[in-house]
Structures are given as C-alpha cells and as structure tokens.
Symmetry: C3
C-alpha cells in the first residue's frame, strides 16, 4: 500500500508531453510549488506559481509552454500542451486510491443467486442480493448494498456505504462516491380529488376552494438505467421511474447532493454540480452543465449544451445552446444587466418620484 | 420473486373502475403505450398517448372517459374516474418491491433488550439497540440502525441503510427511503457573549463591535416524534429537539434531501419537495406544500394550506391559504408580475434617464 | 442506561449561576414550563414562559435575573447571567446520549494494522481499515467506516453510519452526526479542448463554437484535514483536495447537508447552516457565518467575520466583516432596501409610462 513511483520520463510519455532534463528522476506525487518535497512533481503552470518553486524542494515541475526550466533551478521538467488536461492523466497515474483490500471479504454477504464476474473485489460487510449481476473487475467498497436483480457493468468502483436498489441497471466504468443512493421510490403522490397544487398550476393564483386532503403514493414500477462512464458524487440520489426507468446517459458526472427525480431522462456528457436537482419527468439534453444549486422544475425540457450559472432556478424549458443564470433562469448576459439594474432600483424610484413632482406637481408612487 | 399477475377485471375491481372487453386478460405490469409488451397494461389516458398504442404491443390499456377502446385495437380497457388517482392503486398492486427476504437475517444484531413484534423482517447486517420496540409486520431493510429506546409503529417499511437515533418515536405505516437519518443532534450553538448574528438580527446592519468567539453546543435532550402514515425520501434528515421532540404530523410526505431542523413542528398531510429545509423552531400548519428547494427561516409560522413554488425562500411568517413564490417569498401572482417587471428594468432605467433629460435637461441617475 | 440525576445546587454550581430555595431538589431533565414533570427543570427565562409554569408540575426552574421565584410557586430556582449560554452547560450535563455500548463490539472489523487508543468504543459492524489511528477515548458508533491511514484525534464521537475516506486527518474532540461523508473525490473534470464553461467564463455570453466533449476526471491526490473541536451535521460532505488537503479550521460547526468542495480552506470558528455549499478552491476566513442554503462560488475569498443571510448566493469575493443577503449577495441593508423597491416595481413601471405620456405624449416602454 505504498505509493507507486514513476520517472519524469514515464510521466511525460504517459501524458504525451515533452520532457526536459533528467528523465530518470523519480516522482511519487504532485504538489504545489511552495510545499513540494524532493520527489514531488511541482505544478508550476504559470509564472506566479513558478515564483514559489524556491520555497519548496521540487526538483521537477510541470511548466507552461516556453518556460525556461533550467533558469528555475530544476533538474527536470514536463511541458504538456494543455496543462489543465494533463492534470487528469497525472493524477490518474499517481492516485494512491482508498487501499481497499483485493478479493471478496469473508464478512460480505452474497446471495447464492447473485452472479459475480471475474476479478471482483467486495468489501467488508457489503451485501449483494439475489439476482444481482456484478461485471468483471468491479471493486465494491465496504458496507455497500447491491439490491435484487441489479446489473452492474464491468470496472465499477463503489466507495463505502453506497446503496443500489432493486432492478437498477448500470453500464461500464461506473464510479460512485460514498453514500450514493440509487433506486429510491419516486416522489409521486396524488389526492383523491383535485389538489390545491393542481388548482394553483391552472390559475397561478390561490388554492381556490380545494379541500384539505391526504396524499396517496404512486409506487415506482420502473427503476434507474445508467449508461457507461458515469461518475456520481457523495450522496447523489437518483429515484426510480413510475412505469419506465429514470435514465442517465453515458459520460454524465454529478457532484455531491445532486437529486434526480423519477422519470427524468438525462442525455450524454452532462455535468451537474453540487446541490442541484432535476424534478420529476424533466428531459435534459446532451452536454448540459448545471451550476451549483441549480433547480430544474418538473415536466420541462433542457436543450443540448445549455449551461446554468450557480443558484439558477429553471422554471420553464430552455432551448439548446443557451447560457442562463438567476431566479427565474434568464439569458446570462441579460441577467447580469438585470442584476446591475436592480442595484440601482432604489435610486430609480427616487428619480421617478422627483420626475412626478416636477411633471405632475405631486408624487404618486407612495 | 416473480411479478404477480392480475386480470384486467381484478385490476378494474380493485380500482373501482369500469372494465371493457376481455376481463380475463392477464396483466403483469404497466407501461407507456409505445413500449408496452403483450402483458403490460398501457397508460393511454388521453388522445396523445393513445396514438402511440400502435407502436407497442399492448392488448389492454387504461383509457379516459369516453374513449373508444375497440377503435384503438385493444382487447380490453379500464376506464377510471380520475386516471391520476387510479395510478396509485394500480402501482400498489403491481409493485414488484425490493425483494427483501422475509424473516430476521442471521447476521442482524438485535439487542436482547429490544422488543420485536409479530411477523417482522430485519435485513442483513442491521442493528437494533436495547430498548427498541418494533411493531408488528415491520420490514427493516439491510444495514439499518434502530437506536436505543426507539419506538417504531406497525407496518413500517425501511429501505436499506436507514438510521434512527435514540428515543425517536414513529407511528404506524412509516416508509423510509434509503439513507434516511432521524435523530441527529440539533444545530444549536451559543457564544459566551452576544454574537455577531445576534447583533445583526437586532440591527439588520453590520456585526458592530462583536468579538470573534467560539461556539458551544446546546445538546438535544429531546428527540423526534413522527405520526402515522409518513413517507420520507432518500437521505431525509430530521433533527432532535432541544428540550422537547421535533414533531412531524400524520400523513406527511417528504422528498429526497429534505432537512427538518430541531424543535420544528409540522402539521398533518404536508408535502415537502426535494432539497427543501425548515430551520429550527419553525411551526408549519396542516396541508402545506413546499416546492423544491424551498427554504424556511427559523422561528416563524407557516399557516395551513400554504403552497410555495420551487426555489422559494421564506424569510417571515405566512398566513394560512397563501400561495407564494420567490426570494423573498411573495404572493405568487404578485411575484409573477414582479418577475416580468424585472425583465423590463434595464429598459425602464433608460426611459427614466430620457425623462430626466427632457424634464430637467440632465440625466441624474448615473 | 437511566438518566443521571443532579440536584439544583449541583446544576447551579456547574453553570456558575445563582441557586435559590431547596438546593437539594433532584433534577433529571429539562422541559418547557407547560409540559414539565415534577423532576424536570423548567426553562422559564422570561415572563411569557413563566406564565405557563402553572400548567406543568415543575418544582424548579431556570429564571431571568430579578425574577421572584417564590411568587411563581417554585421550590427552587437557578438564575444564570446569560440564560441562552447556560443552556449549553445544562444540556451537556443532562444529555442522555445515544446509549452506545462501551468497548469494542465483537462484530466490528478492525484491521490488525490499525492503531486503537486507550478507552475506545467501536460499535457493531463498524470497519476500521489498515493504518488508521484512533485516538484515546473515541466513541465510534455502529456501522461506521474509518478508512486507510485515517488519523482521528482523541475524544471523537461518531454517530451511526459515518464514513471517513483514506488519509483524512481529524483533530481532537470531533463530533460527527449520522451519515457524515469525509474524503469523497473532488468534483473536478476537464475536457481535452477548451470547454463551453471556460468560454462562458471568459465572455459571460454564449458557448461560442465550443465542441461537445466528454469529461475526464482529475483525481484527488490530497485528502481532508480537520482541526480540533469541529462538529459536523448529518450527511455533511467534505471532499478531498487535488494536490493538497481540503482544510477545515478549529472550532467549525456545520449543519446537515453542508457540502465543502475540493481544495477549500475554511478558517476557525465558522458556523455553516443547513444545505449550504462552498465550491472548489474557495477560501473562507475565520468566524464566518453562512445562513441556510447559502451557496459560495468556486475560487473566491470570503473575509473574516462575514455573515450571509438565508438563501444567499455568493458569486464573488466578500471583504471581511460584511453582512450580506440575496442573489447575488449584496450588503444586507442595501438588499433589504432592494427587496422593498422590487415589490413596488410594477407600480413604478406604470408611473414611468404615465410620465412618458405626459412628457413625450407617448408611452415608449411597451
């Protein structure tokens, strides 16, 4: 369980980047320039960072195109085309991981009617229910629950205390952070007669004379279907669909506390930031980015490549390609203009009062 | 663990709906018209849905009042009075469930001083602490925790990895989705001298000359009391009260990630949507609906039958029957008028400047 | 597992408060005046509360300075200097706790390469991984996970189902509510070429002609470092840093569902309320208070002693000492003025139209 060691040359080759200087120099991790130890590769991807190299002990660094590595006092350097992208390869190589033991822990409880693939690890005190199918090379952390008839594709990595409800289907290369919850029942309730909410949706007014009523659950007969190469942050929740599966497309990435409601369909390669939620039956296109704390109403459509800024509340459908911000969601450039205008509003009100006084010889606003 | 089969006639009878055609036709599940198989009951509750019946293989469907089932090529049909409500009965009948095994799993750890009712199932690796009382016919999923002196009423269904802290009391017919957390300590901290927050609450201004201070916990001596027929979504959190229990009334339904703070009292039949939170010591009436991501401040009152739209932030008390939206919460019709007005604000500012120029021969706003 | 009993005199002495009347009177818990039993200490810290003493059976109460305890019919009274602060000492004394059994439960799975301090309790079905170091006098609840090479300081209290990922370091006197998740991988993804988000950040406009691309993970090589005396609410998530640890300073208190992103640095004695989130690489000063549902953007700075009101969305850095509210965050007094002005906006628009008609003989706004 010690960290792997690579040479500068091996790392540069893995990244498709140029290496300079002593390609045999060993590297065990990556660090900020000022706190780098002698076997750390310092990330000094612009001049500001490079100035701090002297405060640390780095002998090798990742530098920007055109940097003079010798003048910086280094023994070796790596210069990638796009340093931000190089970070993905670099951190994948050097990730020390969670140290989960290999193999199936004797305390794991695996139903005889589950099918476990080749080279699968299952952590201490995990439970795998009947009918579950676990693909090859999966790593299931400790204290996880894999429900009845779940299908988990190859090479999944589940961190500790992840739960997957019955009949959920997941593609290849799935990565779930701690506490992910898949396959809760959808939040779908109905009243025997028309409810206050239905009345309000029709009128945007008050609750009329609707009677106070109790709520009856609509059970979820569907489950959740997740594509390949999906990463879910800690505590992400994805609920079951009502009569078909809730769907998440290939390549989607979700941050902590994201909530995906029942019947939602999400396209490919979407990025959904922390505390965001998509309410029931909404359809989200491909390559959509939802900023942190974005809320999306139920039963609407979000087009391909839409981007929402932090805190956006989307109350109606958004066409493809639009960038929005605010509550309610508004085109970002327009919203920023509105934010500025709102700051001036108390002054404008005074101006209008002054104009009224001048024009009408009275102030009618108050 | 195969799905149950019903006939069209049995389903119609259970729903109190009219059946047409071959009442003996078997049904195993429900589906959308276009993806229905030969034993699926298609949900074709309006003409738009019905047009897609031809794309699927359904032989029976749920139709709207007055629909011509024979013209749609069906062998049988069910016509309920209110199709949306019929969905609750239909999905309850056909719910395949989670496949939790019956009985008490040998790996469950049950304190000898716990009282377990008749016909209770407890899943693998669940823990039941001393003094806990589990009512008859409860199903406790795998890896749950039932704390010291908890009382759980009859017919509860707890999904996987639910935790219930000491001294929590729950009524009959409770349903908890995965990862529900009951009985955390309330978020209540105090400083030795007056804090910056207390100063701001008094003045709405700055933090005055309050000293930086550390925070000391006020422990929760109370717990949580939950009524009958309450459903909690995945990861719902309800915190303990300080010197009495936090309370949730009969028939309340909460969606994923709902947070109920310490000392809160919630009435009956409330519906609280995803990511909503009610801060400490607030009282919520009966039949209240909080839309997704609604935040409710501490120490206020929300009257009966109040409805909040998605994203609403409630900063002060709301009288009974009101429908609100926005940040801060405003009557919904007024808020929609305001949203429209705000979009015109940059133009209005230009108009005011033009007026000032005309009236005063100068533009004083800039 | 019965509640401890104290005398009125012992409690007064522990609180440094004055005792009146029968100091030997026994007290087992604290209650509201109207529901107090004969051994409950009633909290009657102002006249309104004191009026309800007659409805209960309290023989002793906590009163305000100058109250006439005998006239209230009590046998004993405690009068602290600052009653709100006294609640912390009082509830700490009388907290019945969770009833977790002492010692290491035989079902706990502890790697032989873990180091367990003196007088440690570890609950049923908890897992402690190799290299973990558990300080003296820690209490780890049931079904917890302590990862590889975690360091947990002395006197920690972990409630049920808490998980701590590899290499996380925690100081003394840590308190984690149920379902806390430490050490998830940071939410950091990169595209091979410039992404739509990067384009929008440059232009605040649309996504230009950026190509739809997939997302590649930047792994977290860092972990999380937490100071002394930190309390985390149920389901709090703190993610690992990229090349150094995410940091939380001494004395911080976080409420349920708080999310702290990768690389964030939080100072000392901050109070972060429910559903708040701080996005990646942001730095937060000391003694900061974030109200409920506050969102803080990535890569910004929040100065010391900043306070945000409920629902605030912080899109840019805030200087020390400022009190803010709203979306976007605005100085609180200014924001309250703006909230009032916005409510008048529809009327103002009508006024401007009337002015235009009068001045220009036309209404140009529509």
């Amino acid at each position: 369980m010690t960290r792997k060691t690579y040479t500068v040359g091996q790392i540069a080759e893995a990244l498709g980047a140029e290496a300079f200087g002593d390609a045999a120099l060993p590297v065990t991790s990556v660090a900020e320039p000022q706190s780098a130890g002698p076997t750390d590769l310092a990330m000094a991807t612009d001049k500001t960072y490079a100035e701090k190299l002297a405060q640390g002990q780095a002998q090798a660094a990742v530098l920007w195109q055109g940097a003079d590595w010798e003048a910086l006092g280094l023994k070796a350097a790596i210069v990638p085309g796009r340093p931000r992208y190089a970070m993905s390869g670099l951190t994948r190589l050097l990730d020390p991981g969670q140290g989960f033991p290999s193999g199936i822990h004797p305390s794991a409880i695996i139903d005889p009617a589950a099918e476990i693939g080749q080279n699968v690890s299952i952590g201490a005190l995990s439970v795998v229910a009947a009918g579950a199918q676990i693909g090859d090379d999966c790593v299931i952390g400790p204290q996880c629950y894999i429900g009845w008839n779940v299908t988990l594709g190859p090479r999944a990595l589940l961190r500790e205390q992840v739960s997957i409800g019955a009949r959920v289907t997941i593609g290849a290369d799935f990565f779930a952070q701690p506490g992910v919850r898949l396959g809760g029942d959808g939040f779908s309730f109905v009243t025997e007669d028309k409810s206050g909410i239905e009345a309000v949706r029709e009128t945007l007014g008050d609750t009329q004379d609707t009677q106070a009523q109790g709520w009856t659950r609509i059970h979820s007969l569907g489950a959740v279907t997740i594509g390949d190469n999906v990463d879910l942050g800690a505590c992400v929740n994805i609920d079951n669909g009502t009569i078909r599966d809730t769907q998440v497309g290939d390549g989607c990435k979700m941050d902590n506390f994201v909530h995906i409601g029942h019947n939602v369909v999400i396209g490919k390669d979407c990025l959904i930031c922390g505390h965001s939620g998509v309410a029931g039956s909404t359809r989200v296109g491909n390559n959509v980015v939802l900023g942190g704390m974005t809320g999306v109403s139920d039963n609407i459509f979000i087009g391909d490549r839409v981007i929402t800024g932090g805190g956006t509340k989307v109350l109606s459908s958004i066409p493809a390609g639009r960038v929005v911000l605010g509550y309610p969601a508004t085109k970002m450039d327009k919203q920023i203009e509105i934010f500025k205008a709102i700051r001036r509003l108390p002054r404008i009100i005074a101006d209008v009062a002054a104009l009224q006084k001048a024009v009408f010889k009275s102030d009618r606003s108050d």
